[in-house]
């Protein structure tokens, strides 16, 4: 007596292939999920105490990055401006804007504003802004076109793979030092310029673990 009909053979074959495909697909989906903005928080603008527009301040008014992020050239931390920096201008202009009330309140009371952090590295990652800037990595390379962001968001995935893409091939990203803060700069021939700058700036493709993890 035949328990299995002849068609069972086909089902069995299909299930072997299908099973492998499902596992593979699941793996692929997980891999994609890990890189998706849902996990990396890429392109997610968080609600901030004051809806600060980089687009307005950078593109519109022409403020240099370093006017606010003062320690980007000297420290691991680029620096988030104290309220007093905001008030340098906003003492004079938009003094009654409702949107700026939290800034004025903070300035009056001395209670600091709590901003939502967008670019988060885990505690076991050590990152230093100053050396990247000194070696000719532009702000826009990691932070995207901040000058076009009405609300600031994290432009890049900030994953280790992403870090390594540059640490392995710095020539693809490096730019002249005087163009670091230029949001719009683009090389005519990045390959040629990159190779030259890597040499000139003595850029080592630092991929040792202890460069970032210690």
């Amino acid at each position: 007596m035949q328990i299995f009909p002849r068609s069972a053979n086909a089902i069995a074959r299909a299930s072997i292939v299908g099973g492998a495909a499902i596992v593979g697909l699941a793996g692929f989906l997980l891999y994609m999920l890990q890189q998706s903005p849902y996990v990396t928080q890429q392109k997610v603008a968080l609600e901030q105490p004051v809806p600060f527009s980089h687009q307005h301040h950078v593109s519109g008014l022409g403020l240099d990055c370093r006017y606010c992020h003062t320690s980007v050239e000297t420290s691991n931390f680029a620096g988030i401006p104290p309220v007093s920096t905001c008030m340098n201008c906003h003492k004079e202009i938009w003094t009654n804007a409702a949107m700026l009330e939290p800034i004025r309140a903070s300035y009056r009371s001395g209670v600091a504003i709590q901003w939502e952090r967008l670019h988060r590295t885990p505690d076991f990652v050590q990152f230093n802004h100053s050396i990247h800037v000194a070696k000719g990595i532009g702000c826009a390379s990691c932070h995207g076109r901040v000058d076009q962001m009405q609300l600031t968001y994290q432009a890049m995935p900030m994953s280790m793979q992403w870090c390594l893409s540059c640490h392995r091939h710095p020539e693809k990203f490096v730019r002249p030092r005087d163009k670091v803060y230029d949001m719009t700069w683009k090389a005519d021939d990045q390959q040629a310029l990159g190779a030259q700058l890597v040499k000139e700036y003595r850029i080592q493709s630092k991929t040792n673990c202890s460069v970032c993890h210690y």
């Binding site: 901003w115 939502e116 050590q126 040792n208 673990c209 202890s210 993890h213 210690y214």
Partner: protein
Amino acid sequence: MAENNKNLDLDTFRNRFDQKVERTHWMSLHELADEESFFASVSEEFPQQAVPLQDGVDRRDFVKLMSSSLALAGLAACTVPPEKIVPYVRQPEDIVPGRPQFFATAMTLGGVATGLLVESHMGRPTKIEGNPDHPGSMGATDVFAQASILGLYDPDRAQTVRHLGNITTWTNFLGALGAELKPLKDAGGEGVAILTEPVTSPTLGSQMKAILAAMPKAQWHQWEPHGRDNVLEGSRLAFGGSFASTWYAFDKADVVVSLDSDFLASGPGSVRYARDFMSKRRIRRGTTAANRFYAVETMPTPTGTSADHRLPLKPSDIESFAFALAGAFGVGPGAKLDAAGDAFLKAMVKDLEAARGRSIVIVGNDQPASVHALAHAINAALGNVGTTVFNSDAPDAVPAIGRESLRQLVADMAAGKVKLLLMVGVNPVFDAPADSGFTAALDKVPFRASLSMYYDETGERCHWHVPQTHYLESWGDARAFDGTAAIVQPLIAPLYNGRDPIELFAILADDANLPYDIVRNYWKSQRPAIVFETAWNKWLRDGVIDGTAYVPKPMTVALGAIAPSMRSGDYEISFRPDPAVWDGRFANNGWLQEMPKPITKLTWDNAALMSPATATKLGLVGDRGLPGEGNERNLHLWSRRAPMVEIKVDNRSLKAAAWVVPGHPDGAITLHTGYGRTRGGSVATPKETAKGGGFNAYTLRTFDGLGYAVATVAMTSGDYQLACTQLHHVMPDEREIVRSGTLEDFVKNPALSAAHEGPHSGEMSLYPKWESETGYAWGLAVDTTVCTGCNGCVIACHAENNIAIVGKPQVLVGRELHWMRIDTYYKGGVSSPAMTVNQPLMCQHCENAPCEPVCPVEATSHSTEGINEMTYNRCVGTRYCANNCPYKVRRFNYFQFSDWDTESLKLMRNPDVTVRSRGVMEKCSMCVQRINAARIDAEREGRRIRDGEIRTACQAACPTQAIVFGDVADPNSLVSKLKAEPHSYRVLEEVNTNPRTSYLGAVRNKNKEIAG
């Protein structure tokens, strides 16, 4: 090495391995007793094997925990936890977020200051370094300074004012004090008593004088359990009635004699003295001469074990020895010694005679006044005064003999004369002599208040307890060993509502100023002629006030007739401050508690320390637990408990665990004080036991026996588990691990290699050599000649690298996390080892690292600059690496040892180093965070890193500069030069790991006239 390579063939190797080698350096009595079993038992990575969970988690709980963590595991990874950025409202001008700042301040112990530079991250002090401009530091620190950062953030510190144990306010205290003080003040201060530590702070001293001027009948008492009573009395004896302060220039002394002084590792000026002393014994290629050091002492100390000749004597014999020494120079009555002592003395005297004006005789604090007086006379007779030994007036505002002072106070209190008692920074209920009756007398005082860091034994018995500020929270000033004053400036506002002594005294003196102004005003009054603001800023910046060092004063020795006064007995007890918790004040400091103490390597406890022969005599060896002389085997190294002895002094008795120490004199027992606390924080007195670890030696100490006592000792029932790390992480190699020899040996055989040592395989490897991408190749060199084993590096490493402590039960199973340990090896007999070698061992950063290929996840890897890297976020905890490490320097987080919950401890951590979690391996990183910081600075400036620019935490803390870090690719760097020395060796070189860390063999400058 390279030239030997061609001679290597199979036969050579075979011969070498067939050869039966005996190592002359031993680590433990077990090893001497039965070498074979010893090596068998320590050759496992974790000799004690796996131990079950000890926290009482049973199977059911385990399953419950596992299932809930599985359920949560899926959720936890999905989203990144939100984080806030909180910038300043108005940013201080000189703060750059992310860059540390350094401020000069000073820490005092026993009234003497060590100048410090404190690293501060955004207003949080995180790491203590020595102040290179301060004479008491020269850039280095001792263990207490290093560990004081933990003391600052200690969550167990007193946090509120208490009245009768209930929480109240400072205002209430002021009201109560004012009401009580008013009538007494009107009566000229009759009935007011103040008890402090010895005061050398100029500002506090002037405040006290003002208080006593306003209240002439008030009494000021000073007490410290390990004070300088005998030093002061000795100087009074020697100089005809005047108190003197004495300091030394060890960099000018060719012959040094120590009579029970631990001047290299504890006490005033020890950090500076260690540096000066060791500057005369840096053995390098071609060195044929060095200073010579004779030590006569009871308990082996880092100082005594660094000596060229060490004579172990029990306390009463040290006094006789001092008299005999004085007799030899005709400045004392002399004394009869036994043959060994006499031979030692004769050789020593000859050396001293030959080094007139270039020698030092130094005496330990606990020696009787007569010995101090004799040393003054001997130094004067040798012409040392003014060249290597300096005297001046005592620095104390009002010098006082602590025991007289305390005796007087107790008498007054018992007679009901004291109406109001203020205790400042003292804990006499715990540490007053047992025969003082302090506690009973204290209860008779109608108003008693204590200002101290912890709600301790004394605080508990006072009506009022006020939390005291930590030195990193307060303004003040303090004097170094040579008198140089430094301003103590705060790094942070008081965390726990603490108050300074200056603030309290200001209230008594009706001074409305704040401590900052009081200190400033004092110094303004001292320097009326200068532009004060400029000078003040310079003092704060430099950490020293120029022109404040004592001026040496000629003092004539006028020594009357003195005679040996110490009673000798079959068992003499020597009381010493503990190397970790001192007099008990650091008992709540976990870093110090878990620090393996020099020589004994005990953690978390003290013990009755004695020689193996004494232990044998007391019947404590063999089956009773201790290894002894002869063949008493005790090979269950990990499970044996220590036997107990009962020590009786007069009618007082103490039961304590016994422990043998090689080099301890027979017939003597050393008891370290500071243990057996009953109140003082969760580390000092854990909740479970409500009693601190160890045994309270103060219960045997009397006014007349502060330093030593004659006792009867007997074995008693019971046993005690001591956590000793001497046999943890032992390298089970039957060949020599360390190299040592006499200076004569060094001249003949500069490599100090042992006879059996064949050629080493050198650079032989199947793998290509590491090429440094950047041109840097980092390495360490450690000079074991100058290492005293003081542990300064171990605690500095703790602070720099956020290393957790694990607690005594975990230490017992070998799970301590110290990234570096100091292995102590002995050579020679048990009763008086001829040589004690300290070999600080951290990750050796092997170029052929055995740990790297066995990691399944590549969590440990090699950087192109030669650092063996440990990447915590990759580690899955297989422990293969630790298992494969021949040096046993890798440490595993078996549990969540880092405290992630206590708020104050979060502030303490070094933000540049990851705080590790459960289940990851960790080890020395060669302070890669410092390397990276220096590299970034150098690259930004477009230059190479300079030699000496990077100093590892251990190197920076080392008082003797034994550890040198640098670029081994640069032949001109200091570290390269040290590696090129003939006596440079690498540990276990024969296993061809090619470590980046090397050592210089230990050399002692032996006198041929003394055997052994």
